[in-house]
């Protein structure tokens, strides 16, 4: 005798059941995708928390991203900069051990870029920082994020919204940003 619950259910209940299972699968799939496979919130090689560094410990952004004021790129800190503090702070933790592995192997940490602009866009951090734009205006409240998430779309319309509102000099000319 075969055992099956399906004959015991009528058609409408079956439909509801399939719908509920489908919904649960969708929600789990969405969550997994968003947290582990999305390009807006990539999983980084080391679970570095901006919330602890920039939020709780109040380290200024430009202590680590030190080129933002003077260059087109903000700059990812060298492993040396991390080691500088972590020689003495929070040693022995699993994530810090990962950091020391990179240090001992003399390899850079393969961070995954979160805010990545396409090849045809010219963007200068210097111009924006010197123009008085806060880091959080584009990058969101990074000091509250454990793993950095890209909140802005980084599309042209999004850039232009600000350029229009602030009446940037030549800010709407194509060759100001396109190269």
């Amino acid at each position: 005798m075969s055992i099956s619950v399906l004959p015991a259910l009528d058609a409408s209940k079956k439909a509801v059941g399939i719908f509920v299972v489908g919904l649960i699968a969708f929600v789990i799939g969405y969550w997994v995708n968003r947290n582990y496979f999305s390009d807006a919130t990539p999983v980084q090689p080391i679970e570095f928390s901006h919330r602890i560094h920039a939020g709780e410990n109040q380290i200024p952004c430009m202590y680590c991203h030190l080129y933002a004021r003077s260059s087109r790129v903000a700059g990812v800190p060298s492993v040396h900069k991390c080691i500088n503090c972590h020689k003495v702070i929070a040693t022995g933790r699993a994530e810090i051990n990962k950091l020391f592995n990179y240090w001992n192997e003399k390899k850079p940490i393969p961070w995954i870029k979160v805010h990545d602009l396409p090849d045809f866009v010219y963007f200068s951090h210097k111009r924006h920082v010197r123009g008085g734009v806060q880091c959080q205006t584009c990058h969101g409240p990074v000091e509250e994020m454990n793993r950095v998430t890209r909140l802005a779309s980084l599309q042209m319309g999004w850039c232009l919204e600000c350029h229009r509102a602030k009446k940037v000099e030549n800010g709407r000319d194509c060759w100001t940003c396109h190269k």
Binding site: D119, F120, Y122, S124, K126, R127, R130, N170, D173, C174, W175, T176, H178, K179
Partner: protein
């Protein structure tokens, strides 16, 4: 006002005669043909600076080469009384550019610096602009080109690599102009004369090419443009090019 309306209005404004006097810069070039030896160093420099692809022999034969600057060669007279003349030909950044009104998508327009802008992302590849350009300064990307390793390492990161289906042409090395303006803005001054040099100007061994701001009466370009040898190519078309050639006598 919608965006396309504002673009139209801006465009109309830029096409009025004398519009460039209202703006800070009006980039231009003077090419002294007496000095040009036809060595094609400018062509090579442009190729390297602006990530121009090499189309190969077959592509060249079918007229699909991509050149932002080329040296035109003319023979005067018959052997043995023969004279060779060279004319470097590049986008003239005309004030009344014939390529601009024909673009259906505003992919080419005049900007506030007197430059004829080509926007690759807007271009849909109708090639009307190339058909209307009397100087044959525009090149079309018939294919997407790739650079084999390790040649991709030599690509200039400040210039994008164009895709198949877009028109491209000389930009007066906009990346260098942008860089100079950036530095000038930091020091709260105007771009100095001679601070910007496009790749062709920089590489010219005889300094036949001079680049600068035509709005500045003291700049080298403005002074050289006063030379009685000066002329504009195809002036009768009323395109009013930004490039002044000095006649080879």
């Amino acid at each position: 006002m919608s965006d396309s309306d504002s673009i139209k209005e801006k465009w109309k404004k830029y096409r009025n005669p004398g519009y460039q006097d209202k703006f800070d810069y009006s980039w231009g070039m003077v090419i002294d043909l007496d000095r040009c030896t036809g060595c094609e160093a400018c062509v090579t420099a442009c190729q390297a600076e602006n990530n121009l692809p090499i189309v190969g022999e077959e592509g060249f034969r079918s007229g699909r080469e991509i050149k932002w600057i080329r040296i035109e060669r003319y023979w005067d007279g018959e052997y043995p009384d023969i004279k060779l003349r060279f004319i470097p030909m590049l986008c003239q950044h005309c004030d009344n550019a014939p390529c601009e009104p024909v673009c259906p998508v505003y992919a080419t327009y005049h900007n506030q610096d007197g430059l004829n802008v080509q926007v690759y992302n807007r271009c849909i590849g109708t090639r009307s602009c190339a058909a209307y350009c009397p100087y044959d300064a525009r090149s079309f990307n018939w294919f997407s080109f790739t650079w084999d390793k390790p040649l991709d390492e030599q690509l200039n990161p400040d210039v994008t690599v164009r895709e198949k289906g877009v028109m491209e042409k000389c930009t007066f090395c906009i990346q260098r102009i942008r860089q100079a303006k950036d530095t000038a803005k930091d020091q709260n001054r105007r771009v100095r004369d001679g601070e910007v040099q496009p790749a062709c100007v920089q590489s010219c061994p005889t300094q036949a090419l001079v680049f600068g701001d035509r709005n500045d009466p003291d700049s080298a370009v403005s002074k050289l443009a006063q030379n009685p040898r000066g002329y504009q190519v195809l002036k009768e078309l009323n395109t009013n090019p930004s490039i002044i050639y000095l006649k080879n006598l």
